[in-house]
Amino acid sequence: MLIALAGNPNTGKSTIFNALTGSHQHVGNWPGVTVEKKEGFTEYKGKRIKIVDLPGTYSLTAYSLEELIARNFILEEKPDVVIDIIDSTNLERNLYLLTELMELTDRIVIALNMFDEAKKKYRIDVEKMKKILGIPVVPTVAIRNEGIDELLKEAVEGKFSIKKPSYPEDVEKRIKTLESMLKKYKVGHERWYAIKLLENDGDVMKKFQRIGAKDIIHQAEHFRHEIEDVYGDDIETVMASFRYSFSHGLFHEIAEPINVGGVTITDMVDHVVAHKIFGIPIFLVVMYLAFNFVFEVATPFQNAIDLLFNGKDLANGGEINGLIDLSYYWMTGFMPSWLSSFINYGLLRGLAAVLSFLPIIMLLFLILSFLEDSGYLARVAFLMDRIMRKIGLEGRGIISLMLGLGCNVPAIMSTRALRNERERKLSIALNPLIPCGARIQVFAFLTSLFFARNQATVLWSLLLISFATVAFLGYIYKKTIFKGEVEPFVMELPPYRLPTLKGISIHMWEKSEGFLKKAGTIIIGAAGIIWLLAALPWGVEYGSESSYIGQIAQFLSPVGHLFGLTPQAIISLFFGFFAKEVVIDSFTVLFENREALMASMTQLQAFSFLLFLLFYTPCVATLATVYRETRSKRFVVFVILEGLTLALLFSFLAYQIGTLLGVGG
């Protein structure tokens, strides 16, 4: 059996080596270099074990001889176990090498050396560390020979089910692609090589050039540039920052400082934003400020777009023609007026309604990207993790729920990052209950009309209802249909940084692009259908009771009565099935102007409608994604029924209780 001792310099590695091998050791040089090599032997239950003391290093890059020797030994000699000797008094700094070792090998035993000294500085939860990392962890005090026997025992008999550190989804996706490409070269350690190729590691690049793997080198180079563009830094810094985030997150999970010296700004901010009492109120305020910023700052831009397309009636009786009117008059010159009306008042007005919400979408994604890139969202996940664990979800699940605030489609896709199938399904089941950007647009539209004075407060309360419902349902599901325990994990905590404009812009564009594509296809198509339903059969007044849409409205009228939903509101919900933004379209088609819409519902009815919209059936694209991710039609039906039941329940309760109390009538 072969055991390698790795670790940072001055961690007591030699003391442990001496304690393990006694006088059975040999000191020489590593082949071809003048770096000292120490080998020795020990015995455990009659088994002869060779122990090699690797040079002390802080990382495993290709910059120094010591680092190259250490990593090449693990790659080529394939030791049965690597013991990572950690100076517990400098825990966080030492964890960086551990993350690199975890990329290189699955069989690691951690020796938390100088544990007696460390206890004066932190409270370290060894059991939690074992659970989180899935490898044996042994506290040692090498100078007093404490823990050495147990260390050897764990190295020989310990159980290894390592949970490797993962990178952000976009980086992980690229690593996986390179890993699969590497299989044909049969080099082993595919994940490690993929990461090193991405990092442009000189030694690894030379190796692949030697074997003529041009395709891999080219692909890695392409991926590297993409990652550098998104994260606005060179690849080595970016990848190192991910590892530091992991180390920092792990440190926060397992150690609680007693007397901290040398704290950074990140530590100081974390001390408050992850505080047991203040953490959640701070999160709520940050979200409120974010939404307030989005809606208030977007308003002038929305009004400008509205003016550009729709023009306006002036107080002096005059009017300013918008693009839609101008285009209608122009087209009527060379095509039938019904066709011009369909194109302009159907399709173009639909597009205009959606485009007027582009400022909101862009600002929303801008602020979400800012919070994500600054490192705050990771803290939110960390903070909420303690609570959400009780309802069956871990931190990464929370991130996917938060992504749902942008769009449920990528949010559901991001549940792939969850390693546990139970948690993944639970997260998918809960995700559609988080209001996506499109629903938020509709909320913004309606709250600006019905709750102009308290727009942000109403919106914030809707979000709170959504989060509380997700929490409650999660708890119920955990106890019933998705039974099981949450796996321990490390929540990466990157240091706080000021995001780059380029990085935020790229993230913002990536997210807004989907919205624009949807606006160009589904939404315009739906707007056309709505126009046809409002204009047919031929000869009826547009949108009147005799039109198809009017007839549907009358038919559905009794159904909505219990929930305070007007026939027009029901129709808009029906069209919202295509895409939630279409709800706005249908309102703009069904009502001549905003005043008419405002007169159609009381505040209570509007709130009941908003609650219905908050939960009811997700859009077609989301349902398709649920199916793609679960491959289960039953699961899709479950998601539809779950949303509908909640929508009916909340809407009914709000309307009936409100009516009883005489609120918002």
Partner: protein, 182 residues
């Protein structure tokens, strides 16, 4: 001296933040009468006076700032905003919470000082941005119309933003060493 004066100034800021926050919430329901009494909280550093080295100057500054908070309380804004008020109260709580430990030069106090202050600045900055957005909106909506002049509505957050900037100065310039090794 710098640290002690900053603590007194932060108590003043926290008091104002609490005052404006409470006012924004209460305005939603009724017009509060005795809310100016909150200005007395600026006197809070008196309870820490034993730990001050420059007591005479500290007493003078506390009294001066208490007078100033009463002066601001004479002109209560009429804005009502429940969540906006809650944000200010939270920021005020963080700042009050930071005082004792900041004075004792403990990193916990500085952490609350830093986050409370940044939160206050963020709230103020946001309100200034919103004011600019409203101004832009006013000009867009007035295209082709004869609009009355733009009405500026004072919010406590504007004042707190500029007062907060002063509290940032000592942190950036005098406690640089402490950030590395508090």
């Amino acid at each position: 001296m710098y640290l002690e004066f900053s603590v007194i100034y932060i108590a003043f800021l926290a008091t104002l933040s609490l005052y404006y926050g409470t006012l924004e919430i209460l305005n939603f329901f009724f017009t509060p009468k005795f809310i100016f009494l909150l200005s007395f909280l600026t006197l809070y550093p008196f309870s820490l006076l034993r730990e001050f080295r420059f007591r005479k100057w500290a007493i003078l500054l506390i009294l001066l700032l208490t007078g100033l908070s009463f002066l601001f309380a004479l002109h209560p804004p009429a804005t009502s905003d429940i969540m906006g008020g809650f944000s200010l109260i939270l920021s005020s709580s963080l700042l009050f919470y930071s005082l004792k430990d900041t004075l004792r030069e403990l990193y916990s106090g500085l952490s609350f000082y830093l986050v409370g202050l940044f939160l206050l600045l963020a709230i103020g900055f946001l309100q200034i941005l919103i004011l600019l957005a409203n101004l832009l909106d006013y000009y867009i909506l007035c295209i082709g119309e004869n609009c009355p002049p733009f009405t500026f509505i004072f919010r406590g957050e504007y004042l707190l933003f500029f007062l907060g900037l002063f509290a940032l100065y000592p942190f950036l310039h005098r406690w640089e060493f402490r950030r590395k090794n508090p």
